[in-house]
């Protein structure tokens, strides 16, 4: 899921500027799990905006905000509330924010910062395991992604900063290659440790990404 975090209220108020009435959009999927843009957070935001002298015309939690057609439909269902507002504040990831900005011709304010594609370790604890690099190497790396787990994304083994199996930039973190090495030893999983891995092919992930199923 997309891990997101609420922007500080001061930043949101600065972005709203002289827009006095606000329509708030939340997301029932990732932002709800991240407790950054679910029902509770949208309600709290509404209270905070009112305390800061803004008026809130209404709100909606969209299931899910990255779905552009659904966002259009849900907003049309609340057309009057949307029209009454000077701006919409979107408490969803960057994809969700842009579904809204594409659907409403008015000012759109981002309520969240989108951080990474994350796994859920336990409630409220998220970890990045995949960088969406377009060329999955997990079959060759014992199921552990060095592109993501190594801060330098090294494909050919640990850097010179690794010691005692720890990462040079975080003594608490296990080096990605130490994880791979240990996994190979303990589970007998296969990893390509001996052969040089060529540089990644970044032409596989052009920006902006597009995929159309045939």
């Amino acid at each position: 899921m997309i891990i997101s975090q609420q922007k500080p209220l001061a930043d949101i108020l600065a972005s709203l500027g002289d827009s006095n009435s606000v329509f708030i959009v939340g997301c029932a999927k990732c932002a709800t799990v991240c407790k950054s843009g679910g029902e509770e957070e949208v309600w709290q935001m509404q209270e905070a905006l009112i305390s800061s002298g803004k008026s809130v015309t209404g709100s909606v939690i969209i299931d899910e905000a990255c779905h552009m057609l659904r966002v259009g439909r849900d907003l049309r269902g609340r057309q009057q509330l949307v029209d009454d507002a000077d701006a919409s504040l979107v408490m969803a990831c960057g994809a969700g924010i842009q579904s809204v900005s594409a659907a409403i011709p008015k000012k759109t304010v981002a309520g969240l910062d989108s951080l990474f594609l994350g796994n859920i370790r336990r409630f409220g604890q998220f970890e990045q395991k995949c960088s969406l690099c377009g060329e999955c190497v997990l079959s060759e790396t014992a199921g552990i992604c060095p592109v993501t787990a190594c801060p330098k994304g090294l494909l050919n083994g640990p850097c010179g900063g690794m010691d005692e199996g720890r990462c040079e930039i975080d003594a608490e973190a296990e080096c990605a290659w130490a994880q791979i090495f240990t996994t190979v030893r303990e589970t007998g999983r296969i990893a390509n440790l001996a052969e040089s891995v060529p540089p990644k092919n970044y032409s596989k992930i052009p920006k902006p990404g597009k995929l159309k199923l045939k």
């Binding site: 330098k152 010179g160 040079e168 290659w177 540089p199």
Partner: protein
């Protein structure tokens, strides 16, 4: 392009003992002191490593600084990291190095950007050190990384870094093997404090055919050793050395004595010594004397 061997390379390949030292180029464009330090050392050491935004701290281009050394008659080892350049920039710089007559290149991954003075910068790491060595091999074969033919073929004496004291050693070993397979002719190691671990390293690396130049770190004080342990990746000063410095009435002198002692200890195991003086280049001659006598 000339394919003449560098003097450093000739000496190393002939089996003679070499001495290299690291001199950090300036933060700024005034290279006078940098060249003066290098010239003062050039009579007693074989080559000078020119660091590349060392510790992710922005400094003058090591390519420019290496070219200035060459012009002053000092043999450089150009350090090139993958942190700040993508594969186009790396190949451009390598061709530039060759055109300027720089032959020795130490291929490095590079310290993480979070250690340096531009923490908000984007790190590149388009290539890693193994891929950088492969890239140099490709250029030396007359083609770039996309297979396009080059006008004039560069030639390099490629080296790589090694951390003989890092554990687990087997984990580092497979990368060392890849580095040699990718063309590394020599290793310059991180600071050595434990000659037992260095011997283990040499035993593993000797059959690969690469030469080993052992790193010797010059410490000024116990406080500096502690700072290094906390802030400099890949360097780990053992507790007994920190204590030896702390117990000394003249810590700088003790630091020099430790460096001389370690240099003498490692000498029998290796093909050369690499001195990291951490800004105290003026005492390098004393370490060189200790190695030679």
């Amino acid at each position: 392009m000339t394919a003449l061997l560098s003097k450093f390379e000739q000496k190393l390949m002939a089996g003679s003992f070499v001495i290299t030292a690291e001199v950090c180029p300036p933060k700024g464009c005034d290279c006078a002191a940098f060249i003066r330090h290098a010239e003062a050392l050039s009579g007693m050491i074989d080559a000078i490593n020119v660091t590349d935004n060392q510790g992710a701290n922005m400094r003058i281009s090591p390519l420019a600084a290496s070219a200035l050394l060459l012009k002053s008659g000092v043999e450089p080892i150009l350090q090139l990291t993958c942190r700040d350049r993508n594969r186009l920039a790396i190949q451009s710089d390598l061709l530039g190095a060759a055109a300027l007559g720089i032959r020795n290149v130490l291929a490095l991954t590079g310290d993480h950007i979070s250690f340096g003075d531009h923490k908000e910068a984007k790190s590149v790491f388009d290539l890693d050190s193994v891929q950088l060595l492969e890239c140099m091999k490709s250029l030396a074969a007359g083609v770039d990384m996309s297979g396009k033919k080059l006008e004039g073929t560069p030639s390099f004496f490629a080296g790589a870094a090694a951390a003989p004291e890092a554990e687990p050693f087997e984990l580092t070993l497979f990368k060392l093997q890849k580095k040699v397979a990718a063309g590394a002719g020599f290793f310059q190691t991180q600071a050595i404090f434990n000659s037992g671990k260095l011997a283990r390293f040499c035993e593993a690396v000797a059959p690969l055919g690469a030469k080993t130049i052992a790193g010797i770190l010059l410490l000024k004080s116990a406080a500096m050793a502690k700072f290094i342990n906390k802030n400099i990746p890949g360097l780990k000063v053992p507790e007994e050395i920190v204590q030896e410095l702390a117990d000394s009435a003249d810590q700088a002198a003790t630091g020099l004595a430790i460096a001389c002692r370690l240099a003498r200890e490692v000498k029998p195991h290796v093909n050369g010594v690499h001195i990291m003086a951490m800004g105290r280049e003026e005492v390098i001659p004393e370490i060189v004397d200790a190695i030679n006598n």
